[in-house]
Symmetry: C2
């Protein structure tokens, strides 16, 4: 089994180092070995080759069983033509290349880190543990036609029955393994694409009688995430709404430094932290490597069925958190702050 | 001067009664008189006439200088054909009829009500006082073509230069009267319509050198509203993003019962509470009439230039809040809860 490792920009390389440290330790302990090949993506690739997703990286990704990504982008590359930015030319192009239509974004508030959350203790009376299942390959991101002139511009938010069915099944299967509830988010009171979305989700739900289905308008969902995030288990939604709501969900956790994500397609999957490249703290040993390490755990479990190894990694993370070890992003006043690599060592 | 009063459904009629009580008192005190004519809208109109925006109401609205709306909708009318629902056939149709392209949604957290906010005291270290300026007449809500079949559905998110210019000017003018900052929210890294949006906003900004302009992606804005709402003064955004972000902003305030809104067009404007019809508490004297009363104040100020009268109403609201009077939605444990009409009387 082979993985492509793409550290990318900003804090990407340093948190990736820690994830690989953890991978090697885990390989030792559970006696398996993944072949690792590193590649360039994003700004790092632009600087070296002129393109955010060089042909070589494309080949590498397509020839691997899974891709572990760090993070991409930074002010240095913000003013390039859109197709050449790390975000569009790198990340979005890679998603497209691998036909990744499923995006799983868990948001979990650790008991010990409740104080990092912007929400008040009253709202956090239980454990926030929700999963956004976002459709990642269609909708308004890629829908045609698009047009841009100086006088007028438009985008097309489009879904087919099949596209909605595919992602809906993913959400219901996830809910079965979790607390058995799917909240499908749309704007069916206004949008045609949402009306089809809702209709198809209701049909798919019939295959999962043990899962409760609830519908919520996106404006209300944005409100409910703040007022009562505990009501959510699995949030199923479209590409654009998922972009917005998963970021809002991540905010509940206070730091993005703890949140992994997975993007799955038919074959090759991509795993990356939910947060960005944080250029302001890059290279200073301040970054929290946990999101990258938990992305590794998701990869081991989902792409390689190494459930035990993934569980061991998650337990190690739980333990360092319970033991009070903190990088700057999750520290509160008076806490001792440790470095990226110390956090990696401890885990 | 004439106003159309449309109480609508749920708590609409009872909070409207209180607003009219306050209006009459204000008329006495400031010696002016508005002609009031009541009309039907939403579910109440469906029950009486079969249509959520009967011809008579359309005529009434078009013949008035301003419309004061209560709230619309409820489970009873949820399963009608979309064009006949209170929301689409009533509210959206009325917005269209009056060509209301500006939606102003203030979100203010009162010092005394900080505990009603879902955000922690740490985040609320200052006063949240932001205004969403939402484009209300175009974008994906009304963009053509739209299509809905059983196999495929789409919507068109479209903006013209002129439409963006119009709403951008409104936002900058508002910012000049406030703290001088506009945060324009888009998804210009992905959407063509957002690219034009950003371009035009940058151009319009040149007319307002005293206002600071900042751009933010909608996913990040959803996150920042939770992590640090104090950074915002005026949020300028499109119809769909404004729908989502203004609801999230409203959530910061804990209760929707305090938030008014105004929808302005070339001539006749519409004023309504930010919250919904709350059918669960309707008719029980539990609703908070303040959002309706502050909507009245916005109307007096904006449509009739009765600035003093509006200020007097706002001061009266501030005072009852400072004096500790609470309806259920803004009460904390131990507070004495007063009724809708007592709150109206006090104000
Ligand atoms: C970088 C950007 C194109 C991307 C998206 O909108 O999908 C990001 O916000 C994300 O959510 O992964
Ligand atoms: C009722 C609905 C059509 C409406 C909208 O989406 O504009 C509402 O959510 C609002 O924000 O006023």
């Amino acid at each position: 089994d082979k993985i492509a490792v793409l550290p990318g920009d900003g804090i990407g390389p340093e948190v990736m180092d820690e994830a690989l440290k953890v991978l090697h330790k885990t390989e030792e302990k559970f006696s398996f070995k993944l072949e690792i090949e590193k590649g360039l993506i994003g700004g790092a690739a632009i600087d070296a080759t002129g393109h955010p997703l060089p042909e070589e990286t494309q080949k590498l990704a397509l020839g691997s069983d899974a891709v572990l990504l760090g993070s991409i982008g930074g002010p240095k590359w913000d003013n390039l033509a859109p197709e050449l930015t790390p975000e569009l030319g790198g990340l979005l192009a890679l998603r497209k290349l691998l036909s990744l239509y499923i995006n799983l974004r868990p948001a979990v508030v650790y008991e010990e880190l409740k104080e990092s959350s912007p929400l008040s203790p009253k709202v956090l009376s239980g454990k926030v543990d929700l999963l956004t299942v976002r459709e990642l390959a269609h909708g308004i991101y890629f829908g045609q036609p698009k047009k841009l002139t100086d006088e007028e511009a438009f985008d097309t938010m489009i879904y087919t029955r099949e596209q909605v069915e595919q992602i809906a099944h993913v959400a219901f299967r996830q809910a079965k393994m979790r607390r058995g509830k799917v909240t499908s988010v749309d704007k069916a009171n206004v949008l045609s694409s949402s009306k089809l979305w809702r209709k198809v989700v209701i049909e798919v739900a019939k295959d999962y009688p043990e899962v409760t289905l609830e519908h919520m308008y996106v404006d209300n969902a944005a409100m409910q995430l703040m007022l009562n995030p505990l009501q959510f288990d699995v949030i199923l939604t479209s590409n654009l709404f998922g972009d917005i709501l998963s970021d809002e969900s991540a905010a509940i956790c206070g730091s993005l430094g703890m949140l992994p994500s997975a993007s799955l397609g038919a074959e090759i999957s991509l795993y990356e932290p939910a947060g960005g490249s944080a250029p302001d703290i890059a290279g200073q040993g301040k970054a929290n490597p946990i999101a990258q390490i938990l992305s590794l755990a998701m990869m081991l479990e989902t792409s390689f069925e190494k459930v035990e190894a993934a569980t061991a990694i998650r337990k190690a993370v739980d333990k360092v958190i319970a033991d009070g070890h903190r990088t700057g992003d999750i520290a509160k006043a008076g806490d001792e702050i440790i470095s990226t690599s110390s956090m990696g060592d401890l885990i």
